[in-house]
Amino acid sequence: MTWWWAILGAGIGCYLLKLAGLSVPARVLERPLVERIADLIPVALLSALVAVQVFASGTHLTVDARAAGLAAAVVALLLRAPFLVVVVVAALTASLLRVVFPGW
């Protein structure tokens, strides 16, 4: 599968998932088990994405400037900073650290 196929397939798939929600009678999916798992999937995936995005480098685990960026993001979130500020604070922290410690 090339990236074009992945982009188009997943893109159209994501649209159909949205349309299904608006179209399918609520009874079909509104079962406690299905609802609970559907609620937990974004929690598990987003948390895993944070971990992998910050601490993985290929198939190695590593702690570098990204971890400092994440710590800064946590502080920003605790201070109830808006989304964009959180992201910029993390990027700035990592980029400034790399100025001080090149290659980190």
Binding site: A10, K18, A48, A51, V52, V87
Partner: protein, 237 residues
Amino acid sequence: MPDPGRDQLPERRAIIRDGLGVGVATGLYGVSFGAVSVAAGLSVLQTCVLSLVMFTGASQFAIVGVAAAGGAPVSGAVTALMLGTRNTLYGLKLAPLLQFRGWRRPLAAQLVIDESTAMSVTRESTAAARTGFLSTGLAVFTLWNLFTFAGAIAGNLIGDPRTYGLDAAVGAAFLALLWPRLADRGNRVVAACAAAVALGVVPLTPAGVPVLVAGGVALLAGLLTRNAADPTEIPAP
């Protein structure tokens, strides 16, 4: 559902203003998606198609993250689709409130995302819900796509994205999306387990797979808490 008359015009204005505010904040953030996407090796056109067709931030960042890590396209696609399932849930909650029928429904469907749901699901009338949904959804859609394009062009010009900490920005973006859901204690346990499982699998599997394996934590947790009293509600995104 009661339909608000003209006397509720100020409320309507306030809803639209809030929707546009959310749209600007979220749309601006499209710059970072555009820049990260081209840095991951996708073309400007591929980046813009993602924002137009997929149009759901977490899924877009996920597929781009797999590309950046050198993972297989199919891993990226599956992760994006799994994250996209929460929009189905949003749609289920929104359908009786928005009451879109006929040709409007397939058009409205593309706008079912975290932000438009949050700005409409709490409204008390169909008219107010539609106003919140459409103003937020259309503002985010327009600005997200414009700023994706701007970010993709800029990303091609700035060189190594690490210099600007763009790689750290992606982790922060996922955390910001996750944050509201961490208010719940059960969710915190699931999040911690999923992160641990993903990191444990990193040395053993190709890029993109660890996140999918961590998705299994959600399945397991759902099955294990089968007898828990009340099914969880969708947290405000």
